[in-house]
């Protein structure tokens, strides 16, 4: 027998497909992964400690930088947490704007997830740039609304920072009309592609039990057959008013995770369609004092971010700054399952699995 030995490859932090600065320490036997150990912390900025020294409003820009691809959803989650402790009533108009913006952001995030996933499978550039082209339209809408293109800082405690601009409704409607046929194009380019199928079917199967054990949430959990969506399970804001389905898939492989995201884009469009025509007039922000003091107490609030359950645990001592703010980031739990998923697969599948789990390092390292 020829003597062989396993060798270690440091996969990242500078690597084209680790989606940020994740480092996977892979022990390889030829092309097969024997062991995988994720190393995180390259993007650590001490979010939770910083928040203890900022007023409640000043924390909002920091939440943008958690999951920077779903920044609006992070704003949303944080503001809802503070509002719960504050017990303030949100104007109807603000509720509608918030939901529309959050769902648009979810579409943008899923588009990017799909694009980078297929790019990692080696479809070089084309699907990614198509997804970017569509995402660009959403970002343009956001830019018109709040002036920023990535970290928006748009939600405020009690509402949103400013009213939607003129022509917002038409732009969003135009976007819906634009995106629907494009989704069909994706089916032709990606979904019905034989190579994509063999690369993703049965790869990185995340069983229902395993997903629950690891506290996986979001599209990854739904791909494993659990219809768990916080917008349905633990409704917040005005989500109960809208009709939408929770797409699920049975097996939980990379293909299913990709499909669930595609289906969710469709559901997001449905929610936006129902909301966009019914935006009531009125205030876009509730009357909250400039120097906001939150009554003492503690609370946990969870929302459905594009990547899963985004929770904030807030302790207030009655001052104008949070005493403690803990963030439960969905990507963190989702990342934890990767060593178990990639054991025994080929290097190329590591990429497929990592891409299909869709992590964002910004909220893992915080």
């Amino acid at each position: 027998m020829l003597e062989t030995e396993a060798f270690e490859v440091s996969f990242g932090p500078q690597h084209p497909s680790t989606h940020g600065v994740l480092r996977l320490q892979l022990t390889l036997d030829g092309e097969v992964v024997v062991e995988c150990e994720p190393h995180i912390g390259y993007l650590h900025r001490d979010f939770e400690k910083i928040c203890e020294n900022r007023t409640y409003t000043q924390v909002i820009p920091y939440t943008d930088r958690l999951d920077y691809l779903g920044a609006m959803n992070n704003n949303f989650g944080y503001c809802l947490t503070v509002e719960k402790l504050l017990g303030v009533a949100i104007p109807e108009r603000a509720e509608y704007i918030r939901v529309i913006i959050a769902e648009l952001n979810r579409i943008a995030s899923h588009l990017l997830a799909i694009g980078t996933f297929v790019q990692d499978l080696g479809a070089f550039g084309t699907p990614l740039l198509y997804c970017f082209r569509e995402r660009e339209k959403i970002i343009d809408i956001f830019e018109a609304t709040c002036g920023n293109r990535l970290t928006y800082n748009y939600y405020r405690i009690g509402g949103v920072a400013q009213d939607i601009p003129d022509g917002f409704v038409e732009k969003v409607k135009g976007f819906i009309k634009y995106l629907r046929p494009k989704l069909k194009d994706y089916e032709d380019l990606m979904t019905n592609n034989a190579i994509l199928l063999v690369r993703t079917k049965g790869i990185g199967v995340l069983s229902r039990e395993m997903a629950l054990d690891y506290a996986i949430t979001g599209p990854n959990l739904r791909a494993s057959g659990v219809a768990f969506d916080l917008r349905k399970e633990d409704p917040y804001s005005i989500y109960p008013r809208f009709q939408f389905d929770v797409p699920t898939r049975a097996t939980g492989d990379a293909w299913d995770r990709y499909r669930v995201r595609m289906d969710e884009i469709e559901q997001c469009l449905r929610i936006i369609e129902q909301a966009i025509d019914n935006i009531p007039s009125g205030d876009f922000i509730a009357k909250v004092p400039k120097m906001l003091k939150v009554p003492a107490g503690e609370t946990y609030f969870r929302t459905e971010s594009p990547r899963g359950e985004l929770g904030f645990y807030l302790i207030s001592d009655g001052s104008n700054k949070p005493y403690r703010l803990k963030c439960r980031a969905p990507s963190f739990s989702n990342l934890a399952v990767i060593p178990d998923l990639v054991r025994g697969v080929k290097v190329a599948d590591v990429i497929a699995i990592l891409g299909s789990i869709d992590i964002v390092l910004g909220e893992i390292d915080r």
Binding site: F7, E31, L129, L189, K346
Partner: protein
Amino acid sequence: MIDIPFILNFLWMCAKAAGLLGFVSISVMFLIWLERKVSAHIQSRLGPMIVGWHGCFQTIADTIKLLLKENIVTKEADKLTFWFAPLVVFVASFLPFVAIPFGRNLIARDLNLGLLYILAVSSLGVIGIFMAGWGSGNKYSLLGGMRTAAQIISYEIPLVLSILTVVMMAGSLSMTKIIEAQKGMWFIVYQPIAFLVYFISAIAEVNRAPFDIAEAESELVAGFHTEYSGMKFAMFFLAEYTNMFVVSAIAAALFLGGWQGPFLPGAAWFLLKVYFLIFVMMWVRWTFPRLRVDQLMHFAWKFLLPLAFLNILVTALVMVIKR
């Protein structure tokens, strides 16, 4: 004492080689520009637009940049292997041009065994790629080199078998004779399966997507040429596009009737066919995801190889019956 005919012959040979080298360089520059434009338009971008008309001098600017770059050799590298690998790859990609017929009399050397010669020298490149993978002293490079070696050797077999049917029909290994045998009808009409098997294997031979596992940007950073920069990297680049030209030229000669066609001169027809095939390769590259390394092997051994054998069998049977 001075052997005049020999010297003349030698000078003529040098002139031919220089002409070919010049053609190859210009052709590669055009191809790189074309690839960038094709990919850009497929991806709804514009591509290079600044240097010259629609960026047509972009490649020249890039070449100058590459020439001026610092020559970096990593500490871990096996110096000699690292230095020679790009040369081996480039020379191997350039050698087949000797027997490629650009036109009726436009061939550097009409070898009797032209096709065999082309196949033999074009598979030398894998040695260079493996040298690069090994010599870089980088794990990603090594993985890329190993993958390439396995891949090229696997795809060589269906490639040769698919060509064999053409050789059977033409009854010769000389490129000129094969093209002349297609006077009445191109061989692609009689041998569509052979053409497909050849074209797929050829894409794999030149490491293009969806078979680009050797470079596999998203997995292996840049595969075997991860550690290469400057002009040494340019050599690999040059070799890649030269290889594309070679395999497309073979396809054009064997299946698409080479230089034959109405109105235009022979060389123009030949280049048109070659560039069309290269365009198809680019089109494929920017559309499909990449296969996994074991799926790639399965595809070669379990699908292409039996298909190629079956094709030979059927061709032989038909030829025997017709006689």
